[in-house]
Symmetry: C2
DNA sequence: GGTAAGTGGAGGTCTTCTCTCCATTTCTGC
DNA sequence: GCAGAAATGGAGAGAAGACCTCCACTTACC
């Protein structure tokens, strides 16, 4: 991951160990959890292997292209028949749940971390950057959190817990005079939406480009500034044209 | 349309008449143009009426929900059978072309206008605001310009003409020290994409919300600032939740 | 090596889209 | 008014694609 070198680009200063640990955990897939977590009749070796293959493939394909990828395609990506997918996960929803249920909780972790920063602005930037990293990169997770229908229960519960925490984070940074005073917690999903859209649009050809606009937006969020934070490289004309000239 | 009262919110100062005239023209539908513009065998009265009904309905429905609305739905919205739509327009592409071909050209008009401003920053803001108004509000037009497949030829041609003009507009504002110097013309479609995503997400429940983030982004684009431009009202928690709890 | 568990993928069912066809209705010139 | 050309609407053909089931065959385990 590229690290642009601007004024709000070192969010983990003073908390790097906590942050790093969490980041690592996000990548893991919980291979223990079954479709119905209560039942645990011990899988045969090949079955366990295939279950993991499906989870890995689904994680990749959902992250890249969102939750409306068909299970046939997940099966193909896993090198497995559709039947196998359905034998292991009763439903598409069950698969999504197995993949994302715990990851969604990470947002709470980020919020808690952010409140522990001494500098309120750094805490705010930490939360924004973590939340964006999580949701912008992973389109499936973003779908689950923002357009739930699958995660519904879990996502709504998490939002209910996180929103007041985000309000606190924002108000601390505002009280410190670093953050513009008209930002509210409800803006965060909109920022995710905006940067997610760039990521969806240019993702395949330039996966880091969205961060250019994250920096731009942070320069809009700061209460005042004498100059600007340098942006990462812009897209080339060719790449933009290529992204545009492709199916809806 | 709500007019937030910030520092970069009066783009048409000193050019209001030109701007207003153009804006009015955008709303019109050219009822003369036929599917194949060369042929003009004079339509029967009812046919002409229905043709216009289809165009009007299609304009509305494409603007609201993008180009992947089915022609059955356009027909229903027009109060007409699908057969009638296909009798008048050989193809979905033909309908889209008839609707948008000339509107796309408006981007060129905006660019020309913007270059005529005495104050380079005001010219830049004028262009950005016009271009966003045009494309964010009208999802169909945005689809045609950004994800062409339909408008392909026309959109590509327009982009080729406009890009150098936008570069000039941007460089003038940068030379005047008002615009951050790392912005390039290729960023404009990304800004459209970002705000378009907010509009798609919250559009039905809060059609003007995207402008809140337009102001935020402009505060990120300005070279430096002592304070911030006030944002329009944030979405309520309930409205955001409602937008989230709805199908993908 | 017997058997229960697991597998793959053809295909059933459903939905949704584009576009055609034609019996019926509506305009228009005389 | 009326004849005939023009136009209409909507059922439905055809294609695509999604979800999920079924079952003849294969594989792992004791």
């Amino acid at each position: 991951m590229k690290k642009p070198s601007g004024t709000h680009t070192n969010p983990s200063a003073g908390l790097s160990d906590v942050a790093e640990t969490e980041t690592a955990a996000i990548g893991l897939i919980d291979i223990q959890s079954t479709d119905t977590p209560s039942a645990g009749p011990k899988l045969r070796a090949d079955a366990a292997r295939n279950r993991e293959r499906v989870l890995t493939a689904a994680a990749k394909v959902f992250a890249d292209r969102g939750l409306d990828v068909s299970l046939d395609e997940v099966a193909r990506a896993a090198g497995v028949g559709v039947g196998t997918v359905y034998r292991r996960f009763s439903d598409k929803e069950a698969l999504v749940k197995a993949l994302f249920e715990d990851k969604i909780e990470n947002v709470v972790v980020f919020a808690r971390e952010s409140m522990m920063f001494e500098d309120p602005w750094e805490g705010f930037v930490h939360f924004i950057e973590r939340a964006l990293d999580l949701q912008v990169q992973n389109r499936g997770l973003r779908d689950a959190l923002l357009h739930s229908e699958f995660g519904r229960a879990g996502a709504a519960r998490t939002r209910a817990v996180v929103t007041p925490m985000v309000t606190t984070i924002i108000e601390r940074a505002q009280a410190a005079g670093r953050l513009r005073s008209d930002l509210v917690a409800e803006d965060v999903p909109m920022l995710v939406t905006m940067l997610g859209a760039v990521s969806d649009f240019m993702g395949p050809s330039d996966p880091e480009l969205w961060q250019r606009y994250r920096v731009l937006i942070l320069d809009g969020l700061v209460a005042q500034r004498a100059g600007w934070t340098p942006l990462s490289n812009p897209p080339s004309r060719e790449v933009v044209d290529a992204a545009m000239t492709k199916p809806l």
